[in-house]
C-alpha cells in the first residue's frame, strides 16, 4: 500500500514537472538566446548583451513598447473603473432589461477577435474615428470591459447585501458604503479584473493589427512586422524584458492579494 501511494505521488510530481517544463522551457530558451551571440541560435552558448544594445537603438521597437504599455495601462484603468461601477450597478439595482444586458456581456468574450477586429475597423471608419492609437485604445477598452464585469460580478456574488444596509443604517452615504464596505470585499475581484484587462490589452495582436497605422502600432504588431522582414534576436531581448517585468508584477500581486481565500 505504502509503496503504491509513493509511486502515485512520484507520478504526480513527474506530471507537474512535465507540465511546467512544457510551459516554461520555450520561455527559458528564448531568454537564454537573447544573451547568445549567434543570431541563428547556434551553440555553443556565447554570452553577449549585444542584442540588448541593439534594442536600445531600435527606436521603432521601443516606441511600440511604450505604446503598448501606455495603452495597456490606460485600458486597465478605464475598463477597471467602468467595469467595477457597472458590476455594482448590476448588483444593486433592479431595472428593465437587466438580464438581457448581463447576457450580452458574454458573446464579446466568445466572438473571435478577428471578427471583432474587422467589425471595429469598419465601424470606426464609418463614424470617423479611423485608425491609430486612439482607435486601438477604444477597441481595447471595449474588449476588456466584459472581462472586468464578469470577474468583479462573480466576486460580488459572495457579498452579503445586508452589509450595505447595515452601513447605511449607521449613517453612511452611498459613497462611504462603497468605499468602506463593498470595495474592500470585492478588491480581489477588482485586482483580478484589472490583470485580465491588462493582459487582454497588452497581449492583443489581432484587433491592434486591424486598427494600427504605420508608425502607430503596439509591440505585438511591431514584432510581427519585424519577423516578417527577418528575425533578429532583438525580439528575444524585448520579449525577455517584458516577461521578466510581467512575472514580477504577477508575483507581487499574488503576494499582496490572496485570491479566492478568506471568506
Amino acid at each position: 500500500m505504502m509503496s503504491a501511494t509513493r509511486i502515485l505521488e512520484g507520478l504526480g510530481r513527474f506530471y507537474i514537472g512535465l507540465l511546467l517544463a512544457f510551459l516554461y522551457l520555450p520561455i527559458v530558451i528564448m531568454g537564454l538566446m537573447s544573451f547568445n551571440a549567434s543570431p541563428f541560435y547556434q551553440l555553443p552558448f556565447e554570452w553577449t548583451t549585444k542584442w540588448y544594445e541593439d534594442l536600445s537603438r531600435n527606436t521603432q521597437l521601443l516606441a511600440a513598447t511604450w505604446n503598448s504599455l501606455e495603452i495597456a495601462v490606460i485600458t486597465t484603468v478605464i475598463s477597471t473603473l467602468l467595469g467595477t461601477a457597472a458590476s455594482l450597478a448590476l448588483f444593486r439595482y433592479e431595472f428593465r432589461g437587466k438580464k438581457f444586458l448581463q447576457a450580452l456581456l458574454f458573446p464579446p468574450i466568445a466572438i473571435p477577435w478577428l471578427i471583432t477586429g474587422t467589425a471595429m475597423l469598419i465601424f470606426f471608419f464609418g463614424i470617423g474615428i479611423g485608425r491609430g492609437l486612439h482607435a486601438i485604445l477604444l477597441g481595447h477598452v471595449a474588449l476588456a470591459l466584459p472581462y472586468v464585469i464578469v470577474v468583479v460580478s462573480a466576486r460580488l456574488q459572495t457579498f452579503a447585501p445586508e452589509l450595505e444596509e447595515a452601513a447605511r443604517s449607521l449613517g453612511a452615504n452611498q459613497w462611504q458604503v462603497t468605499m468602506r464596505v463593498t470595495l474592500p470585499w470585492i478588491m480581489p475581484g477588482v485586482i483580478a479584473g484589472a490583470l485580465f484587462a491588462f493582459a487582454v490589452s497588452f497581449d492583443q495582436f489581432v484587433v491592434s493589427y486591424f486598427l494600427s497605422t504605420p508608425g502607430q502600432a503596439t509591440l505585438p504588431v511591431e514584432i510581427y512586422a519585424a519577423i516578417r522582414k527577418g528575425f533578429t534576436p532583438e525580439i528575444n531581448a524585448v520579449s525577455t524584458i517584458i516577461i521578466a517585468v510581467s512575472m514580477g508584477l504577477m508575483l507581487i500581486t499574488a503576494r499582496f492579494f490572496r485570491f479566492g481565500g478568506e471568506k
Binding site: 445586508e162 447605511r168 449607521l170 449613517g171 453612511a172 464596505v181
Partner: protein, 355 residues
Amino acid sequence: MADVQVESVSRSFGAHKALDDVSIAFPDGGFYALLGPSGSGKTTLLRLIAGFDFPDSGRIIIGREGVERVPVEKRRIGMVFQNYALFPNMSVADNVAFGLSVRGESKASIAREVRQALDLVQLGKLGERRPHQLSGGQRQRVALARAIVTKPRVLLLDEPLSALDKALRVDMQVELKRIQREIGITTIFVTHDQEEALTMSDRIGILRDGRLVEEGPPEDIYNSPKSEFSATFLGDANILRGDATGDGIRLSDGTAIVASGGVANATGGKASCAVRPERIKIATATASPLAAEGNMLRGRVSKRIFAGNSSTYFVDRMGEVIKVHVQNSGATKIEEGNDVVLHWSPESTVLISAA
C-alpha cells in the same frame, strides 16, 4: 430618544398587500415586540420604520419628525440584523466605530465611545478580534454595540436571537433587556417566538397577514385576547365555540359557558370562549366534586404528557380535545382513559366575538 408613530401605513408588493393600514404607537423608551407568524409583514414594517423601504401610504413619525420619505442613512436609527451583518474586513472595534467615523467624529472621542459601548455589551477585551473569530453570541453583542454607539433615536431588531441556540438565546434575552433599560432606548423587536415576546417586552403588537390584529401589554393580551388568533398565537388556549348568550356561549349540547372577561356579545349570533389550559382544574368524575367554579365540562383523558414540573392532559369531550396544564404538586395523577370533570371560573374565560 423618541417615540415612534406609525399611522395608517400600507405597503404592497405587486398585488400582495404586505402591510394593510397598520397604525401603532411605539412609546418613548419602551420595549415593543412585533409578533406574528412568518410572512405576516413584521420585517416589512421594520424596514419601513428603518427607512430601507417606503410606505405606499400612511405616515411614519419619529419624535416629531415625519420621516416616511427620509432615507435610512438620515433617520438616526440603530438596526440589528438577524445574521449580525458585521463588516468582515474590519476588527470588532472598527465595526463599532463605523457609525461614528462616517460622521467624522474625532479619533479620540471615537475611541472613548467605542470602549464604552464594548464595555456595555461586556466585550471590552475583544476589540482587536475579527468577526469570524467570535462566537454567535459575541457577534450579536458586537452588532448591538455597533447599533447603539451612535445614540440612535430608536433601536430596531429583526429576529436578532433566532440564530442562537436555546440556552444562549435566554442569556441574550436577559442581556438585551438589561442594556435596553440601561440606555432607555425606544426599542422595536421583531420576533415570531411568542415566549420571547412575552418575557421581554412592555408592549406587544400581533400581526397577521399584514394587519395589526391586537396590541397591548403582554399580560393584557394574554389574559384577555380579542381574537382566536391572538389567543392561540400568544400562549396556549382552548377555544370553545357556540351560540352567543349575552354573557357567554351555549355549546351544541346545551352546556352554558359563562365568561366575565372579553367583549359583551348580543344573543343570537355565534361566539367563542378562550380558556388557558393552566386555568382549568381537573378531577376524576368519581371524586367528590370540588367547590363549583362556574363552568364545568365532562370528558375522558385521552393522553397525558409529563413535562417535569407540569403535566398536560388531553381531555376528549364529544370529539373535541381540551388541554389542561397541571403543576406537579405531588397529587395523584389521573390515568389515561379515566372519566374526568373539568371546571374553571368565569373570570378565567374570555369571550371572543365570532371569528
